[in-house]
Chain length 348, copies 2
DNA sequence: AATTAGCACTCGGTTTGGTTGAGTGCTAAC
DNA sequence: GTTAGCACTCAACCAAACCGAGTGCTAATT
């Protein structure tokens, strides 16, 4: 069945076509290939091979009497089989200079920007999902007569806070008690681990302040999930205007809107997190393979980065189908490893 | 000197030209005006008047034998003299439905989006400057052995926090003392009011923990200024692609980049805040009048909103020069008043 | 003196038709 | 299996022709 659809020569030719097309963006003809490669074949022969390749679906003609361009299938074959993975040294070279700034969100924004500058494509990055992060510290304080402030510190020193309204002021003693109660019972737990049992137990112990407990818990849950969950940072979105095949205002508008309405990008994140990610953790979506319909004329490359036991975030690069996959994937690999180091000891 | 450059009739004609051009976006000819207006003049007469108007610089011809389009001077005259301010009732009609959500930033983002949807232009909005906001509550807590968490609540219940690293853990008692000290000395002050004297006094009282005091103060200052200061929210930026005169990928790219690199927008904010703002607090920049060079083919309308004694933010709308100034200004006026109500009692 | 009808003129936009050249597919020869 | 050669295709380019909206000017009208 899989008795090599493509022989050595066809492979070489396909590779040459794609390489050339990635550089020029123009349909490539038989004569070009004839000279480009070291095969020493006449253009006529190449033509025959190209006809075959077309029949097999790896390349296609924009119109009769034009050169060939890679099809989605062609690109797929290219990224799966033809990319030469660079030796590690070279990759090491271009280390990213990430300022070790305070706020997580600033780091992320910065990474997105760096990546965009390096690749000339649009980029996105999500913060890590926090569901599994454990609560490290929790504090309730009375701000004024009608407001309590709940502050939660998660592992990795991420701080979240939420204001609560209360009907009547809480006296100092109750406050202390509540704080004690909350801390002893909740620290070390992740939001997922707080179940009805825990809550009931807490409420009971809180006595006449049980209503506050549930409010606090709600607040904690909300602060952790709702917020960072769909926080997606993008950069270099206007880069897509640099590629003529994407820059007519119709298409470009839709694409750019997708970046602005960041919630459209979520499917990239979720898709990626669930997917079995082979070896590298890098996913390539070519054209229609993309989970986002508006990106059917683009290619999307995503990578997940991890910071300790299952807490993951996603980085993505979106560009034209004729993107420089090698460079992009190298960059992502680079980042993956570096993010590990940086995010594992964040300040905030 | 100012003996009315334009007589009644010329004014009417100019008005008609602009109105028509705003609708169609096409150069408008004499015949159109002849029918459009109630002046009952032949196209020939209009032509003569138009020649005059052109000489005076209010309109111009894209090329011979084309209709006329308004010049910047023409637009300026239009917004200064010709806009009919709608009666209040009509404006009242389209009240904005702003969800009273928790986070300030969400409100702002939402406002930007609403405005963009309503107008079909690009919008931006800044959070209020917080320098003058007073500190309402301040708390230091020990998160773990090497980290303190400083939480500041400002008037209006804005919460800021900052993580501090310390060399050696603080015992409970010192912590209590410090908190007491900070609260009694700093609450009620705005960041501007904290001067060297206050700091020195505090340090003295803190005794052997004086180094922590200055760290805390730094943190407070940083949290308040650096952060919200240049936080600019944008929305509907892709709307500009809807206007052909702005949507060629060259120009559009520059514009959109300006929105992405939000710091380019800052000049709009500062310019506006310092400017004497006549009566309405609404500023219109037409074409080259804009403080941002990349927007020389656009018009920019900004408004400041206020929430109590000098604390201001800025809203801006950016669109083509032929924007619907009336609608835009109405919307802004509307928002100005509503934001007052909403932001004066925010939750967070 | 102001208005208008009429007319020649201008000039961007569109259509038309021809030319060019890159590139193909096919066939016949090597 | 490879190649030279040739007829064919078709987008891209270009010039000529045409169209029509719109102008400026002049002479007649009010």
């Amino acid at each position: 069945m899989i008795e090599k659809e493509l022989d050595e020569r066809k492979t070489k030719i396909l590779n040459a076509i794609i390489k050339n097309y990635l550089e020029t963006g123009e349909p490539v003809g038989s004569r070009t290939i004839s000279k480009y490669t070291d095969l020493n074949l006449s253009s006529a022969t190449i033509r025959n091979e190209m006809a075959d390749l077309e029949e097999l679906g790896y390349i296609l003609q924009p119109h009769t009497s034009a050169g060939r361009i890679p099809s989605d299938k062609g690109y797929r074959f290219y990224v799966d089989h033809l990319i030469e993975t660079k030796d590690q040294q070279v990759s090491q070279m271009k280390e990213f200079v990430i300022e070790h700034t305070e706020k997580m969100e600033q780091v992320l924004q910065q990474v997105a920007k760096l990546l965009a500058n390096n690749t000339n494509y649009a980029t996105m990055i999500t913060g890590p999902q926090l569901h599994h992060n454990k609560i490290k510290f929790l504090q309730l304080s009375s701000v004024d007569d009608s407001h309590l402030l709940a502050v939660v510190v998660l592992e990795g020193n991420l701080v979240k806070n939420k204001m609560l309204e209360i009907e009547q002021p809480l006296d100092n003693e109750s406050m202390l008690k509540l704080n004690m109660l909350l801390n002893t019972n909740l620290t070390g737990l992740s939001i997922e681990q707080i179940n009805l049992g825990t809550i009931a137990a807490l409420k009971e112990k809180a006595g006449n302040h049980s209503n506050i407990i549930s409010e606090v818990l709600d607040a904690v849950a909300e602060a952790i999930t709702e917020d960072e969950d769909l926080e997606i940072y993008t950069s270099g979105t206007t880069n897509i205007l640099k590629y003529p095949e994407l820059s007519d205002s119709q298409r470009a508008g839709e694409l750019l809107s997708a970046f602005e309405e960041k919630n459209q990008l979520i499917s990239l994140v979720t898709e990626n997190l669930s997917d079995g990610e082979e070896n590298t953790g890098i996913q390539v979506y070519i054209g229609n393979e993309s989970p986002i319909q508006t990106m059917k004329d683009c290619s999307v490359v995503t990578a997940t980065y991890e910071l300790g036991e299952g807490v993951k975030g996603t980085i993505g690069i979106i560009g034209p189908k004729r993107m420089d996959y090698e460079n992009v994937m190298d960059n992502l690999k680079m980042l993956k490893s570096q993010l590990d180091g940086i995010l594992n000891k964040p300040k905030n």
